[in-house]
Amino acid sequence: MPRIGIRDPTRMPMTVSLSQHLQTHRDEILAEWFAKWLPADNSGQPGWASPAQTRHIMQTLFDQILSALTTAPPDQLPDLDEQAPLCVHLRHLAAEQARNPEQATDPLRLLFSLRQLLLRHVTAWDRKSETLSMAEPMLRLDRYFDRIALFAFNSILSLRDRHISEQNLSLMELSTPVLRLWHQILLLPLVGIIDTGRARQIADHLLEAIARHEARVTVIDLTGVPIIDTSVAQHIMKTIDAARLLGSRVVLTGISPEGAQTLTKLGIRFGDVICRASLRAGIAEALMITGKRITAMEDPAHP
């Protein structure tokens, strides 16, 4: 292995640089690290990587950290460039990790265990050379690891955030279908928790559908709404008012007996909105408003 990294050979001619020291002990440190990390993991067998893969990940990580330490000027911290191989590797690690949320802290634990190991080796190196103060390189290493850990943590967090916002979006898309039940009759089955964002989206969808289909009646079914509190009620009332302005009457269905009791205790009045206990009754009402009804087919044998 080529020896690089002695920046100032005149000042410390007899000592090897820290990175060089670590480089010469690379295999030793790596073996120690593997021994520390892998057995504990094998027992639980983490889903994200086989021992061979983990070994490879750790080795790459170690080499990249070492090369960053080697190439940086001794009085500065190595740069954590977005495009640096180390950062790419860390991001990759974070992406792997994102699939196993229960082991989200693994990359950090990995880094911390390596830091501990390296610091111990630094003390060993210093005892031999006895020229430099021990604190300086240790502090530098420590701060470097802090930055790496911070970077890893940030990558994990930003990945999570992205997942969450993507899920939010897909939930939003899933949750508010406006169905055309019959000519001029729309059905809006509400399922799940209604917060302000969803309420606005529901209203948008519904009003747009009312205008498009020239709906005269809209059945809003609340069977799937777990809790109707004042804010949910308020959102629904606003939607109803807006629907009315577009010329559509609203039939409210699916309020549970407990829900009805709670609403009255809360002091919420749904005023002159037509309410029906079940979706079936609501649809019958909607058909009646539009002058239709569902009847049994006439028996052709007895006209």
Binding site: I227, I228, D229, T230, S231, E258, Q261, K265, L266, G267
Partner: protein, 127 residues
């Protein structure tokens, strides 16, 4: 809404009826919504109340926040009054949903609300 779910689960776990569990859940949802809107957040504690012999007699709910506080409690408990252009029946409604309701607020320091829902088998002294 998480609070409402937790409150409902707890109430059902404690053997409340469906309607009562719904009341508790809605009250929890009102109180947390209030804290979120007016105080920018707060904490809601749910706690089962037990009798001396260990049987469950009720559920206590404590909402605490470090918000601006409520300057006029009577006004805040008035039906239809709201500073945030909401329906204005959250607080009075929640107090009706629960069996006992006490509120204290220090201007500029936050608001504490304590509410209790008794089980159907109420202690004798309350009947």
């Amino acid at each position: 809404m998480q609070a409402a779910r937790a409150a409902r689960q707890m109430a059902e776990h404690l053997g409340f009826g469906r309607a009562q569990a719904y009341h508790v859940a809605t009250a929890a949802s009102e109180l947390t919504a209030n804290m979120a809107v007016h105080a920018g957040g707060g904490t809601l504690h749910l706690q089962p109340l037990t009798d001396n012999d260990g049987s469950i007699i009720g559920l206590e709910m404590r909402a605490e926040d470090q918000g601006p506080g409520i300057p006029d409690l009577d006004l805040a408990m008035t039906e239809g009054y709201s500073t945030a252009r909401r329906l204005g029946c959250g607080l009075p409604g929640a107090s009706r949903l629960m069996d006992e309701f006490s509120i204290s607020s220090t201007f500029g320091q936050g608001t504490r609300i304590r509410a209790i829902k008794w089980c159907r088998h109420r202690p004798v002294d309350r009947s």
